[in-house]
Symmetry: C2
Subunit: 512 residues, 2 copies
């Protein structure tokens, strides 16, 4: 865990995903630490804080059982261990040196949760914020979406706001509240009403587009979202462009006057600041994993499979989300092989893809489109035992780390991406002077763009040309760029991300 200057007031965290989730094997309850960049990042803060609490949703069936067992009315506060092992402290053997935190888990009515999560958060907000709708024909917002918003998104946000406000009040009203992501845009305004003296921030981990894109939502959705966020002292994003876009929305859609000099807006006597803090990774933990035997074994297998002779490896690691631009990446590889037939049999594109949100039709269709283009490219160019594109539909982080280490090119060509941690992970551990080919539309591009080969995500030809540039770059250039990229990531790990936020928020804390 990174060292962070812990604030001297109680901290209330809110995220949809929990840092610990429960499961059942036979009659035994099991626990595992939450995955994902956000939860990992916050664990460093939460673990060991005193008198603090992490509010989250009960997701699994076993999570709900824990809430039933320990709580009341769909809500339970439980003490959990995060390190070295995850679990309910109550059910674990006494042991020294555990880092524990208090979870407030809310079990939401499943129908309501589906409206909140499956209809509004994903796909509606996700698609709007990543600019994925083809506006000529989608979305068609009707009674169903309005119902899902008011009975799902609004209601669930109110329930979480009430839980957060309750935790603040239980601590005498003086607390630092840190809200997270697109599930909870309405929470801050409601918490602010009950707890006017709280210091509160909301971190938006996905892109924030300009007013044009937000007009996809009618005012009875977008206005509460903006007003909700304006309940905070700080609204935080990964890049300055997102922060500015947020204030543009406040100006153009709500009519407030923005102070563009310091990126603030005055609302009812309070100052709300839009800020940006690029999230990062836990560099030490990743370097430790990269040095493990498990990764070494994977590395050996992958090396034998992909790097025979002078072969080169192009890699991507992504969820199968349309925002990741997987299909165009393969089309660019197709163009690369057409333009440079000398690369045939000498380069493989290994794509580790984690199937994602398969209950959403657009995601199902996207998997089909991926399969279709892979088949086409392999049929057109492959043969004689050489398969140009090799898919692996699996979520195996140790395997991904091994692949990071041995790739020649990592392709991150996202249409839009709040940050993209894959780029940061790969450059930290790569051992082969691998080149990062990075979309200009990722948050990571702000930090790593100058040492990456830049990708323009809608331009197939440019991506093909960029892959060629990366594959044929002189060894010294490759090594220099990689070293510079790894330095940038090492200097800006997730501890720095948290520290910068806490430093800004401490100025906002009322004097004791």
């Amino acid at each position: 865990m990174p060292d962070i200057a812990k604030p001297d007031v109680p901290v209330i965290l809110l995220s949809h995903r929990a840092p610990v989730t429960f499961d059942r094997e036979g009659d035994q309850r099991t626990a595992s630490r939450g995955a994902g960049g956000l939860v990992s990042a916050l664990m460093g803060l939460a673990a060991g804080l005193e008198n603090s609490v992490w509010v989250c949703a009960a997701s699994s069936d076993e999570d709900r059982k824990v809430v039933e067992q320990y709580g009341d009315k769909g809500s339970a506060a439980v003490e959990v261990s995060l390190f070295p092992d995850a679990g309910l402290v109550d059910e674990m053997d006494a042991e020294q040196g555990r880092q524990t935190t208090t979870l407030r888990m809310l079990a939401i009515d499943p129908v309501q949760h589906e409206q909140f999560y499956g209809q509004i958060s994903n796909p509606l907000l996700w698609f709007v914020q990543h600019g994925l709708y083809g506006r000529a024909s989608e979305p068609d917002l009707g009674r169903q979406e309005h119902d899902a918003f008011s009975h799902g998104y609004v209601a669930v946000n109110e329930a979480f706001a009430d839980a957060v406000a309750g935790e603040v009040e239980a601590r005498g009203g003086r607390a630092l509240v840190m809200l997270h992501d697109y599930h909870f845009y309405l929470v801050a305004a409601r918490v602010r009403e009950r707890c006017p003296d709280v210091t509160m921030s909301h971190f938006v981990h996905i892109p924030w587009p300009g007013p044009n894109e937000w007009t996809i939502l009618p005012p009875d959705m977008r206005d509460p979202i903006l007003h909700g966020l304006l309940g905070n002292d700080v609204v935080a994003f990964h890049t300055e462009r997102f922060a500015r876009n947020f204030l543009l929305c406040v100006q153009e859609l709500l009519g407030y006057s923005v102070n563009w000099g310091d990126l603030t807006v005055e609302i009812g006597g309070r100052t709300v600041a839009a800020r940006h803090y690029p999230i990062s990774i836990q560099t030490e933990a990743l370097e430790e994993l990269a040095a493990s035997d498990q990764v070494a074994e994977h590395r050996q297998v992958l090396t034998e499979r992909f790097l025979e002779g002078d072969r080169q490896l192009v890699l991507r690691v992504d969820r199968t989300d349309p925002s990741k631009n997987i299909v165009r990446g393969f089309k660019a590889f197709d163009t690369l092989l057409t333009d440079h037939p000398e690369l045939k049999d000498r380069v493989v594109f290994f794509a580790m893809l984690q199937p994602s949100r398969q209950d959403v039709p657009q995601y199902q269709q996207y998997i089909s489109a991926i399969g279709a283009v892979v088949a086409e490219v392999n049929a057109r160019h492959g043969g004689h035992g050489w398969e140009p594109i090799q898919l692996r539909m699996e979520d195996d982080f140790a395997l991904a780390v091994a692949a990071y280490q041995i790739c020649d090119v990592l392709v991150v060509n996202a249409i839009a991406d709040g940050m993209n941690l894959v780029a940061k992970e790969a450059v930290l551990v790569n051992q082969r002077s691998g080149v990062l080919a990075l979309s200009e539309n990722t948050g990571a591009h702000q930090e790593l763009g100058s040492v990456a080969v830049r990708l323009y995500p809608f331009d197939i030809q440019q991506q093909a040309d960029a892959m060629y540039e990366a594959l044929t770059m002189p060894a010294k250039d490759r090594a220099d760029r990689l070293r510079a990229a790894a330095d940038i990531v090492r200097r800006n790990d997730v501890g720095k991300w948290l520290d910068a936020q806490l430093a800004d928020l401490e100025h906002k804390l009322p004097a004791r």
Copy 2:
């Protein structure tokens, strides 16, 4: 023609479409005045100016014949009459009182013109600027698009820039150059190089989105577009939002520092201003047409057809462009009839649609989608001699004016629209206290939003509710709103639009 304070320097106009186009009937050359809001608006300026010229493209076969006959190397300057009758002055009988202007017509190589017009201007720039691409899968920019840009768009822009610069030089270098629309973004920078002392504006008649949307184009397309426009003294749009979005692009995509106080940017010692001037219509000419016998006859036919008993008429008049949001308008009408069955047999939606750009696949598909939804809605709700939606695929302005006069609701629900003149035309001539239902995403909304029923173009339910509100609004409210809307249009006719631009540009003219 509106009265305009004519500038006392030569004026060079540039638009793709010509104010006069030629055709052939048998062995006779015929001429007709150009249609479309832009050309009509500029004719008022051009007619009667001295020592001025209008540069435009030869479009028809007969236009090309005129260029061959009167010109050299694909370019001809001809003197044409605009009022009262259109034609080549050379071929017309001598007559007093004609308003004439000089046309410089360029005949562009058809292959190049197809790349310039059929691949880059439409659909690429049109789709980017109206936000119509579903970015998960379109566009795929490849070698073909890059070729079309460099060999088509760039080359044609250079040809027109050279023609404009030649006209400026022929007038001693002191001239007012007014460039128009998305076909010619690269012209100004090249003219500025040859004619540094020229005063120059470029009017963009379609929406200008923010930087997010412009990143659909790679830098080798978007940067020349922005640099091209920065060759002007004034870059003009219909709304302040578009002007601000342009400067955001200059700031974020080119890295220039913008003066947000007065919406300017300093480029190499010059000041470039982003300004907005909402275009309008020729109110007197429209009121004259509305009072004509031809329109009266149409009005009688339409009244008998649609307004029997207490029936009400919902109207739309549009090109079949996906940006016009025709399909969602019919879906909203479907929802209206489902929610309010009492309206069955009492309301008709008459849609006058002009087929548009049928060589572009998305436009072909959009016509199919229109036909599909109309058939569904009519099958679901119609019967007993009542057809809820009635389509007319025809471009007949006199018929449209008659329909404007007798409609109860005019629906303008565009996804994005630079201005939308249909809204202004209809409120000026309506005789039935018709209600304007107007998308917030049209330029016209800035002027007419406060007296219209507002439409949120992605929200089917809201549009259905808004149509219901409009159809059932008390008579006095309807009359008050219509009167207010007509007053706004009458006070801001196209003469005012031109005057405001000329006044701003005169400050930029070097002293004589």
